[in-house]
Amino acid sequence: MQIKVLYFAQLADLAGRTEEQIEVSERSAESLYADLRTAYNFPHDFKQLQVAINHELSAHETPLEEGDEIAFLPPMTGG
């Protein structure tokens, strides 16, 4: 299943990109994040991040669908 991952802020810096297509076998956002964390050395625990799917905030356990765009959002620091 193809998923598009969007990276912001520190995660974009560490991944060296702002987005990428990933082939996943599980429908779990937590499992996907665990793989990305290992690959890019992200500092955050999954529960520290908010999850957005298709540009809407989503529950951490929302199952992924083919073609979803997912973003893992570090604590926001605007203002």
Binding site: D13, H55, A71, P75, T77, G78
Partner: protein, 154 residues
Amino acid sequence: MNFLLTEQPINPTALREKMLSPQAGAYCSYEGWVRDHNEGKEVAELHYSSYTQLAPSIADQILTEAKEKFNVTAAIVHRTGPLRVGDIAVWVGVTAHHRGDTFLACRYIIDNVKFRLPIWKKEIYTDNSEAWIENNHCGCADPANLQIHHKHEC
């Protein structure tokens, strides 16, 4: 919707003029300015990045909440990209019949902007080091807490 993300300098005079109304008796505005220091380090530049496809719906929620709670008219403008010391990072404007509502709503909005709007700040220091700000909320984990005025905020 009264929300804008912009890479251009924020013009508070022009934004204020859009708030004018003969029914409004009170106008409260807030601006966040880039300071020359933070936690003992000299700041040369900030860089704000945003999730542009998500931010408008979150801003709309915050503004809707403020209108429902305080019966105000309100707007938010947040700048993104590189900012220098003295630049305006964020502007919030609120009008209402009476002053109390404008203060409460303006505070509510800026607190929630900082906590919920998908924008992130990197600080670049005068020694060329840089850091993503980890958290500017002093451990406030729940947006509901933001309605309380914290004595010692970051």
